[in-house]
């Protein structure tokens, strides 16, 4: 084996090592460009709605809006799967309110309206000034207070 072969192999090891690093980084780009942000409201519905359903939908709220507190102005679309409110990062609405619990409140659709469960929070949840337990009906415009944050359902 000559000097040339040795040097070529030596160079090859370094070049391949870096080629490996770059191919890994190339795959990583998927993390940066792997999501699609669409600015249209809501996911497309799979089935056609009937007229009465649509009328009812028109009246039912579509958003949860923060009207007071640090996150004032934030709105989260309501989901048929329901959503969690609290300080834990896995909640759909992550509060930065020191009086909120990790998993504080669950909001989910019922037959005719949206309902809320307090998930055993430390400082409680008030709807229109009354402390709530579970299965509380939320009418449009109801004021949901968690610590220093006030939430409201809006159309």
């Amino acid at each position: 084996m000559g000097e040339l072969t040795l040097n070529l192999v030596r160079l090859g090891v370094i070049v391949l090592l870096w080629a490996f690093v770059f191919s890994v980084v190339g795959v990583l780009r998927g993390d940066l460009y792997g999501t699609r942000v669409s600015h249209n409201a809501g996911p497309a519905r799979a089935t056609r709605e009937t007229r009465s359903e649509r009328r009812q939908r028109k009246n039912s709220p579509t958003h949860l809006v923060v009207t007071e507190g640090r996150l004032r102005g934030t709105s989260v679309p309501l989901h048929d799967a329901g959503l969690l409110v609290g300080r834990n990062p896995e909640c759909s609405l992550v509060l930065t309110d020191d009086y909120a619990s990790g998993r504080h409140l669950r909001i989910y659709p019922g037959v005719d309206a949206w309902y809320a469960d307090d998930l055993g929070s430390t400082n409680g949840t008030e709807v229109n000034g009354r402390r709530i337990g579970t299965g509380v009906r939320l009418d449009p415009g109801a004021q949901i207070r968690i610590g220093q944050t006030v939430l409201e359902l809006r159309r």
Partner: protein
């Protein structure tokens, strides 16, 4: 998280989910090819011929990650595709360097340390496969939070026991059972990560909510300092009784890191660092072996002390930017060229360019771990993945920092590279757990399994 800042909501959806298994297969083959070329390089440089049985040896190594790849296709289809190739490449390069040190001592590929390391690699990959098959869902591990604590502490304290414990090179880190000697601290770090994650996911509210603000830091209440003080006490105990600054720093750092991830309070890092500095200064004043390490760090060329750091620096200097080439330097002059000082050996033979590529591989491995933590949808998985990624990062920092004189040298193993079975075993199990968590995090909604640990307090998994 669908936090829309305006009234017009944006929905963030993933593009078509790719399992990434094909990418993984290609990269694993690529990694094995690099290892094969490096192996050939050593042989040409030292013996001026191709290694005998090169296909046999490379095949024996290559079949291990490929088998794990098959297990992943079977049991964790959506796991992160980059963890396995990176671990494979690092492990393979470690094997090549160990073999190269063997050659310098007149040992062949079958009777040297490398053969034993290959055996350990097989065992470690098998353990990773077992972990992937047995732990179908990482959330199950949360049930064993306190069992993991007990196991972790027992493993940590085992080397201090009189019969099984062994003192090698001034540190009590090993136990000897029959012909096997093990470093139980390596396995303890997995158990303790499980414990820290399980413990902090339930207590983080109390540790992050209350407290006064002081100089822009949210300070915790005095009575919430309990856990961090216990962790600190234990790490000081390790420092004193086992004379090992490295693992002491590793365990305390791991706890503080998981605590920070759990609570988002910078004050815990400040408190943790000041506690550690206080402990380290105290140890420096009280113990002569710590003083030796510090003088060795500040002045490695001073006469009348160990020349280990100096020899490592000479090696790195001899390698320069491009390195001497595998098999053409003198890494075997340093003490422990295949275990503690394997990074210096690589620095000499692959040069700064090669060493930086390897450090990047570590960075990418850690990044994948932290990315897994971001993707995980429940607290326990997040903390577990972040903790595991952090142990790898901290371990690399401590040992590379020690060799390059950023911090005082302490004998930690370099993940995947160092000769030594326990470290290899522990790191492959860590990779297996990260793969398991990432499989769970990347799995599309339609294929998700329900929570095995359903409890009434957390009724639904809400997917925004």
């Amino acid at each position: 998280m669908t936090l829309a800042p305006t009234a017009r909501p944006s929905t963030v959806t993933s593009l078509k989910v790719r399992s990434g298994r094909l990418v993984e297969l290609v990269l694993v083959v690529f990694a094995v090819a690099i290892v094969a070329l490096a192996y050939v390089n050593v042989s040409i440089a030292t013996e001026d011929r191709l290694p005998t049985d090169v296909w046999w040896h490379v095949g024996l190594f290559g079949v291990l990650p490929l088998a794990l790849h098959v297990v992943l296709r079977w049991r964790a289809r959506y796991a992160d595709p980059l963890l396995l190739p990176i671990a494979t490449l690092l492990n393979g390069l470690g094997l090549v360097m160990i073999h190269r040190i063997d050659v310098s001592q007149g040992l062949g590929p079958t009777d040297g340390v490398a053969a034993r390391q290959l055996l350990w690699t097989g065992l470690a990959v098998a353990m990773a496969a077992v972990a992937l098959v047995v732990v179908r869902d990482h959330r199950v591990l949360r049930r064993y939070t306190y069992t993991a604590m007990a196991i972790g502490f027992v493993l940590l304290l085992l080397p201090m026991l009189p019969v099984v414990g062994q003192e090698i090179n001034g540190s009590r880190l090993w136990i000897r059972i029959g012909p096997f000697s093990l470093q139980p601290g390596e396995l303890a770090k997995i158990a303790l990560t499980v414990f820290f994650a399980g413990y902090l996911v339930t207590t983080r509210d109390a540790l992050s909510l209350v407290g006064r603000r002081f100089l822009g830091l949210q300070l915790p209440r005095a009575r919430d300092l309990g856990p961090i003080l216990v962790a600190w006490g234990l790490s000081v105990l390790i420092l004193v009784s086992q004379r090992d600054l490295g693992s002491s720093l590793l365990f305390f750092g791991l706890f503080v890191a998981v605590l920070y991830v759990a609570t988002e309070r910078t004050s815990w890092i400040v408190i943790g660092l000041s506690l550690f500095v206080a402990g380290a200064v105290l140890a420096w004043q009280l113990f002569s072996h710590v003083q030796q390490r510090v003088t060795l760090w500040l002045d490695p060329f001073a006469p009348g002390q160990s020349d280990q750091v100096a020899k490592g620096l000479m090696g790195l200097g001899h390698g320069g930017i491009f390195g001497t080439g595998l098999g053409e330097g003198y890494p075997y002059i340093t003490y422990f060229p295949a275990s503690d000082y394997v990074i210096a050996s690589f620095g000499e033979e692959l040069g700064m360019i090669g060493l930086f590529a390897m450090l990047l591989l570590y960075a990418l491995l850690v990044e994948r771990g932290l990315r897994t933590a971001i993707g995980a949808r429940e607290g326990f998985g997040k903390l577990l993945a972040a903790g595991m990624a952090f142990t790898v990062a901290l371990q690399v920092f401590v040992i590379v920092g020690g060799i390059t004189r950023v911090i005082p040298l302490t004998g930690l193993t370099t993940p995947f590279l160092s000769a030594g079975g326990s470290s290899l075993l522990a790191n492959w199990v860590i990779v297996a757990l990260l793969l398991r968590i990432s499989d769970h995090a990347r799995r599309p909604v339609s294929e998700r399994r329900l929570d095995p640990t359903t409890d009434r307090a957390h009724p639904t998994e809400v997917t925004p």
